[in-house]
């Protein structure tokens, strides 16, 4: 368990770092997809809306594990085919980048629904008032919609962040060396399965508890200036 090479603690911490990087990346890109998706679902044309509906329904109904395999293989394969078509050499897609994009695609579907619900929770008058002031759609998004929906979206987004940290464990299946995979390697080498899996569990738990503290602070910040409602902010 020591940090230096005879022990495996260093590997575990490296795995944790990889997990956190992937979770942050996937969550961030997922938010971007989610915001776009929510806007498309609310204000897009009929075809955009239907396509987004198909996207969110399928992604939320199929196990993450299957999606990860499908997107991981399909994504790398597609990139290489495109590169070959344009006459470039095949590349080995970086596991980190692939992992981030695959999880972001999954997260995007969930955050689309969360953000859509949050935008719908904004009092309609606020958006109408902004339109009446002659704000352009971009300005409206930046000044009114995003800040106003944040308090409604944060509980759902916090859940998504916690799901993102735990979903990184699934990348162990495609052999990416995040925390769970590192743990399995370490445990397999030392035969101390119980110790190492417990240690990894503690690391994940610490990450979750630490996130909870941060989330509580972010939520307080996002709700600043709002009246206190018991049980509010769904």
């Amino acid at each position: 368990m020591a940090l230096e090479p005879p022990g495996w603690g260093g590997n575990l911490l490296r795995g944790l770092t990889n997990s956190v990087i992937i979770a942050v990346g996937a969550f961030g890109f997922g938010l971007a997809i989610g915001t776009g998706g929510a806007y498309g679902k609310l204000y897009g044309g009929p075809i955009t809306r239907d396509l987004l509906e198909v996207y969110t329904t399928i992604v939320r109904a199929v196990p993450e594990l299957v999606l990860i395999l499908l997107l991981y293989f399909a994504g790398t394969d597609l990139i290489n085919r495109v590169l070959e078509a344009f006459g470039y050499a095949r590349i080995d897609v970086n596991g980190l980048v692939a992992g981030i994009w695959v999880l972001a695609f999954v997260q995007g579907a969930y955050s689309t629904e969360v953000i859509r619900g949050a935008i719908l929770a904004i009092p309609q008058g606020q958006i109408e008032a902004a339109r009446a002031y002659g704000m352009s759609p971009g300005l409206l998004l930046r000044r009114i919609t995003l800040p106003a929906m944040l308090p409604f979206a944060i509980p759902g987004l916090a859940n998504l962040w916690l799901i993102a940290t735990k979903d990184t464990a699934l990348l162990a299946i495609v052999g990416f060396s995040e925390l769970t995979q590192e743990t399995r390697t370490a445990a397999g080498q030392t035969k101390a399965y119980f110790t190492f899996f417990m240690a990894a569990g503690v690391l994940y738990l610490l990450l979750t508890l630490f996130s909870n503290v941060i989330i509580a602070q972010v939520e307080r910040w996002a709700r600043r200036g709002m009246p206190r409602i018991a049980g509010g902010g769904q």
Binding site: L42, Y43, P46, I47, D50, L51, I58, R60, A61, V62, P63, E64, L65, V66, L67, L69, L70, F73, A74, D77, L162, K166, D167, T168, A169, L170, A172, I173, T180, T183, R184, A187, K191, Y193, F194, F197, M198, A200, G201, Y204, L205, T208, L209
Partner: protein
Amino acid sequence: MSTTHTASGLVDTAARASLWLQPHRIVLIAVALGLVASAAIFMRWDWIPAYYDLALRGIWRTIWILIVTGILGFALAVPLGLVQVTGPRWLAWPANAFCTVIRGTPLLLQLWLLYYGLGSLFPQFPWVRDSFLWPYLRQAWPYAVLALTLSVGGYVGEVMRGAFAGVPRGQLEAARAYGMRRRTVFRRIWLPQAIYSVLPTLTGEVVLLLKATPLVATITVVDIYAVASRVRQDTFIVYEPLLLLALIYLCITGIIVFAFRKLEARIPARLG
């Protein structure tokens, strides 16, 4: 644009059904059918007959695990939720800690901790080897069922905590005033009302459980996901088994959602 959208959001269900089949939808459905048809024609499906039996057994095992762990997990979740609402502190605290730990660590890790961790500890104790449970403990599925049950217990326990706390106090007091014993109050009033109020959430939890079942394939339980993996390894066909697998999961999800919707429709009155 936005006014027509809000208007369409307000129309009642009957009118929405007739609105559903718009021209662009027909085009989209045609495109989707075209994609399916081209997938059926141009992709390789010749492996299906060879794996047909195995796949059926895999689907059956997935559904079996889903039902067993769902019921066991719910049975675990009810006391977990209840003691967090009314129990003494020495019961409430461990229940809360259990839910936090289960919800704070990945299921894959829990599964591997139980299977590899416990599985490697057990053979060291002679009394475990000698016990009548040993033939079961050497197989993978008890660990899969245990891990999924604990996971469902943790997640649904948290849901049930909110559900029990959400039943109006007056209902329980009225039941007590009728002279019902505490157990009767729980069985007739508290539990049914709590379940009714969180039925939509429970639908989501069951779908989440379904999506967690393929993880058991990593500890050598042959569910439908493991069958698809074997096809990939045997034949080097990558996409077709995975696409079919996604379709199977979509269908099972559809069935779950439909069944729960039927159940919801049977609730006598809508509770606030």
